[in-house]
């Protein structure tokens, strides 16, 4: 039986290898054919004219992810401080189930909500409904539960003595929580934010529904935007030949982003363990 368990454990490695090989075997030749610089830095994505530059999508992903973090991280971290240090037991339970509910809501529902609520509101306010801003707000909402729950457990892991030590020096409860406890939970909170980034970069359906999806480098908050994930899901259905391989290459670039994020995450976890 041991050998059966061992083989089962190897399936995970096999799957990763299979996905890597498949992304690279299809993606690399395509990047070679298009030219690495043309592919990564090219600003024109026009499959009809055999132009495959994914710079707009890379920039798009970076923009909306940055926006999401700017919105989600402060709210999430501060909420986590409140939950870990100030909320009463019953309120804590309530907040925690709300966060769990939020984490469980499928992205297509977030997308739908963005489409029927955020888009009209932002269109009335700023003229354009589907934009970098809309996608950022929606993604910011979506990464909240990830950031809140991980940041909360990081804060909880800080020894009580930090908080009590600060209180004993005459600091208020709030000051103690923010200036003694929070810095001590730094690496855990960073890990929470990085995981949030990972989620935002990889999110597809919700973004597709509210971002506008124009294959241009956005020139402002209210410009439409297409992310790498959106690029794949929008064109996968009908792509063939070099076009299809260019989409796989897009996924490969996305995969590299995720690998970097995972690497950062494991660095932070190592730091936390110390």
């Amino acid at each position: 039986m041991k050998i059966v368990f061992f083989i089962a454990a190897w399936v995970a490695i096999l799957c990763v290898a299979l996905i890597c090989v498949f992304l690279l075997a299809n993606g690399l030749p395509a990047i070679g054919e298009i030219g690495p610089l043309n592919f990564l830095l090219g600003t024109k994505w026009k499959p009809g004219n055999d132009l495959y530059g994914i710079a707009p999508m890379i920039v798009g992903s970076v923009y909306v992810t940055a926006g999401a973090v700017l919105i989600g991280a402060p709210i999430g971290i501060i909420t986590a401080v409140y939950m870990a240090q100030f909320a009463g037991v019953r309120l804590q339970k309530l907040l925690r189930s709300a966060v769990a509910l939020m984490a469980g809501i499928p992205s297509v529902i977030y997308g739908f909500f963005g489409l029927v609520v955020l888009v009209p509101v932002l269109r009335n306010l700023f003229g354009t409904g589907k934009s970098v801003l809309t996608a950022s707000i929606l993604l910011g909402m979506m990464i909240l539960p990830t950031i809140i729950s991980l940041a909360e457990s990081a804060i909880r892991a800080v020894p009580k003595s930090y908080y009590e030590g600060a209180l004993a020096l005459g600091a208020s409860a709030e000051r103690s929580a923010f200036f003694a406890v929070l810095p001590a939970a730094k690496s855990g909170i960073l890990a929470a934010v990085v995981l949030g980034i990972g989620r935002a970069v990889g999110e597809t359906m919700a973004v597709v529904m509210v971002a506008g999806n124009q294959e241009i480098i956005p020139n402002g908050l209210f410009s439409g935007v297409r992310t790498m994930t959106a690029n794949i899901v929008l064109e996968m259905g009908y792509a063939a030949g070099l076009h299809k391989d260019a989409l796989i290459a897009t996924a490969a670039v996305l995969f590299v982003f995720i690998l970097i994020i995972n690497f950062l995450l494991s660095l932070l976890k190592g730091q936390e363990a110390q």
Binding site: F22, F112, V116
Partner: protein, 281 residues
């Protein structure tokens, strides 16, 4: 109380307000989102949404609901034994810190970080095109099985590790071998935790869209064979809202989807609580 207010400096006050504000925003977001969908959706729930046949006039969600069950079953049949066996290897057999174990953990973490659209793309090229399965329940099931594998592995391993060593020692001291110890003592003790992870995976499957559109496809019919295309509830939700023709039905479908996922996640939490309760009687 007097003293307390005297010590209340500006920064403290500011921090207090910022905290209240942030928590309110976070909570209002979820309340508004869920509330909005329930309020707009519940009035649109009608029996006609639950009839057997889908057509362009009546966008029944019944086929999608049944497909979701099929797809969940298929993915679990593939991923649950694999994930649990892998966890048994990691928790019960492998020596800590050994190279293979580190590699397996790294692989599982990498899998967990891969965006679902990349799974969808992989599933499409590998299962749909290369293996010539076409848009099918089977292709969707295999794709999702890979996607939920790391989740099941991790939760099962955590559940196994949380089983006290005293149980294992007790069984070994009676002369039970490792296999018997694992299956008769450790697995039953870890069952609630493992179950919690499996239910969590069911939630992931029910909510997944991006990995399914190009693997299981979007046909709104109950499949006759595993080789038929089948849209799940989430995919149904996506098609409805992107077509924009049946918004009332879309709201109602959203209600069903939210309630379904909330129930699934609630069950998972319940199971997890049973695990932590079990060892401290």
């Amino acid at each position: 109380m007097e003293l307390e207010t005297q010590r209340m400096d500006c920064l403290t006050l500011l921090l207090k307000m910022v905290m209240r504000l942030a928590t309110s925003i976070a909570m209002l977001t979820v309340i508004y989102l869920v509330g909005y969908i329930l309020v707009k959706g519940i009035p649109n729930l009608s029996l006609s949404l639950f009839v057997w046949e889908y057509n362009s006039d009546n966008v029944s969600l019944m086929p999608a609901l049944i497909n979701t069950v099929y797809l969940t079953t298929l993915s679990l049949l593939l991923a649950a034994p694999l994930g649990i066996f892998a966890a048994i290897y990691l928790a019960e057999y492998a020596r800590r810190g050994n190279k293979t174990v580190q590699m397996i953990r790294l692989a599982a973490e990498t899998l967990a970080g891969i965006p679902s659209i990349v799974y969808g793309l992989f599933g499409m090229i590998f299962f749909v095109v290369t293996l010539k399965w076409g848009y099918s329940l089977l292709a969707g099931g295999f794709t999702l099985a890979i996607m939920i594998l790391p989740l099941i592995m991790r939760t099962a391993e955590e559940a196994l590790i949380s089983v006290p060593d005293a149980y294992r020692e007790g069984a070994f001291a009676l002369g039970a071998g490792r296999l018997r110890t694992v299956f008769k003592i450790v697995l039953p003790a870890a069952a609630p935790g493992i179950l919690s992870g499996v239910i969590l995976a069911v939630g992931r499957i029910a909510g997944e869209t991006a990995a399914l559109i190009f693997t299981a496809g979007t046909l709104a019919k109950v499949p006759q064979t595993p080789m038929d295309s089948a849209r799940t509830l989430s995919v149904h939700m996506y098609t409805l809202s992107s077509e924009g023709l049946h918004m009332e039905a879309a709201y109602a479908t959203a209600v069903v989807l939210i309630v379904l996922v909330a129930i699934i996640n609630g069950l998972s939490t319940l199971a997890a609580r049973k695990l932590t309760g079990g060892f401290h009687e």
